[in-house]
């Protein structure tokens, strides 16, 4: 099948570029004596995960149980679930997955850790946990240093829990600060909080097996930092408009994800309408000030949303307006949420479709 035959809108992944991105990241972390635990929320695919594991990744991160189930039931046996769980059904699903390999989960407080411990004890097992730190993101996480160390100590003394390490993911720094040096300065502050936590743990006689942090925007800041065992970048395999604007990572990795749309109407000399609306491309970055509209990969065109299933292309001059039936490729502003709108991605080499990969969405 050729990409021109795909039903549109379609998410297309350049597999050659993905493989180069995977290789480049792996070589980089190897050179720093660090591991990589890529985040599967970007790809939601055992097919892509396997490429990362084959290249040498130490495991995968997942943001939902569905992602973890899709990976672990398809041969990926090292997963870190980077979200807390706090309902009985979800915790049971998590514990069931431990039959399929080494699965760990973050915890950030006694409330969620105790729910987990109770359920694990009930089945005579233990849950492997990683303590989540708030390194500045003001979202989830224990306070770094002594509070986190005391919490870890409590975990080591609690039946049903097994302490595996700490996570200090600086999610707030990945795309918010385009300038590399400015981002690095902020990331060093976050890394300092990890160091303080490792020191506090040592003072209590605890050595974390895992110290995980870092994303695509901080990969070359976090990898190699003393004590860090692995980084958890996700978007580096696909990149997107926003990550492309980020100093360092923006030029280090190739953009491999595009969305193909069809021009279905061209009512004026400078207006064309495509079948790409906000049910086909993630525009939510527009809402938080990062620019959310996809970029048409043809000159002289600007995209604006036209509702659920339509996108309007405005041409700066009539000669740039595409015609009805033409296909237009777009670079999405956000790869994660765009992929999440599709049941399948098409993995291509050049114009040839090599694989139709299911997306483990909700």
């Amino acid at each position: 099948m050729n990409i021109d035959e795909l039903p549109t809108p379609a998410v297309v992944i350049d597999l050659d570029a993905v493989e180069r991105n995977i290789r480049k990241m792996q070589d980089f972390v190897n050179s720093r004596g660090c591991g990589v635990r890529p985040h599967a929320k970007s790809h939601k695919s055992p097919f892509i995960a396997k490429k990362q594991m084959d290249a040498g990744a130490v495991g995968q991160c997942c943001q939902t149980l569905i992602e973890a189930e899709a990976l672990m039931l398809n041969g990926i046996d090292h997963v870190l679930l980077t979200t807390n769980l706090a309902s009985t059904g979800a915790i049971e699903r998590f514990l069931n997955l431990s039959r399929n390999g080494d699965i760990k989960i973050i915890v950030d407080g006694r409330e969620n850790a105790e729910m987990l411990a109770k359920a694990a004890r009930h089945r005579g097992s233990s849950a492997d946990v990683v303590v989540d730190l708030d390194v500045g993101g003001a979202k989830t996480g224990q306070q770094p240093g002594e509070p986190a160390a005391k919490f870890a100590k409590w975990i080591t003394e609690t039946d049903g829990l097994r302490f595996r390490g700490i996570q200090g993911y600086e999610g707030h720094l990945q795309i918010s600060t385009p300038d590399f040096e400015e981002r690095k300065a902020k990331a060093m502050e976050a890394l300092g909080k990890i160091t303080a936590t490792i020191d506090a743990l040592r003072a209590l006689g605890i050595t974390p097996e895992i110290v995980t942090c870092g994303g695509t925007g901080t990969y070359n800041i976090s990898a190699g930092y003393p004590g860090v065992t692995d980084i958890q970048p996700g978007s580096y395999i696909y990149m997107d408009r926003r990550y492309g604007e980020i100093g360092s990572a923006g030029t280090d990795f190739e953009k491999s994800m595009t969305v193909i749309a069809t021009v279905i109407s061209a009512p004026t000399p400078t207006r064309a309408v495509t079948d790409l609306g906000w049910k086909g491309v993630g525009i939510e970055y527009e809402a938080i000030g990062f620019g959310g509209m996809p970029t048409p990969l043809l000159p002289g065109l600007k995209y604006s949303p036209g509702g659920d299933e339509h996108g309007i292309l405005t041409a700066s001059e009539p000669r740039y307006r595409p015609n009805v039936g033409d296909r237009v490729r777009f670079l999405p502003a956000h790869c994660d949420t765009t992929l999440n709108l599709y049941g399948f991605f098409y993995g291509v080499r050049g114009d040839r479709v090599e694989v139709v990969g299911p997306v483990a969405r909700r």
Copy 2:
């Protein structure tokens, strides 16, 4: 199953309220001597479509082929596809559906109409088409009045096409103008363009069988307007935060869709974190100035996005902060895009789950 047992995040539909909304809309259009052709882009579900058809709807509108396929392969035999198609594969899928019932499609120019005619002729059949008018939305559509009438005349003379009527959907007026009287004045302008087109068609000896327009925001302006045969509201069955702010419709219909999330972390006395991020609730209205954040249905809480799978609740006072493990219900800002993020909706009566309905998403 009780709603407290559902895996979260979950989209929950109050079936009693949906049935009351369907009844109310049907009674209203009946009283105006008009039909209703509800838009399936809101529900993407043959189960809900059947309730509307049983109440007396004249058919269903669909915005994608997938929606049309989901309905027509599950017993709904009157569908209007309210988007142009302009690729061979898509047109073939559309033509195939005519084996399952009466399916019509909008066209707005010779380019897309000719592609359709050619494919229909090739199989010795005709495609049923409705001429789409630009009544002010500046998206798709023929110019109303004479240009549209001439286009319709050309359709009647073209092998492979069968002219069924006109569509003048005033999509730009549904949620942009909260004040009812102001909206009504604008909608009357759009309706005047439909009248002008009916007149121009008559001058050419053509009588449209279908004159369709109107949405949830204009249902009681369009229904009963001379010449209009049916209206095509979608959101009235579920409503949402934005439609709730719209004068008239906002109070005429009940809000029946909520999203249930779980509090997975509560790191400070005024901060709780839920498992509801922008992969679980449509926030794109925020990007176009209508307010996109979901409203927590508990007092003293404000939602802000925390990435793909997390949402932050900030409590105005510590006593309002929910605890880890608590469930929080939200009213989404936009029902269509929120539902589209889920593989299933849960139809409930009170707290009891009555049906798990598949969502015909991409």
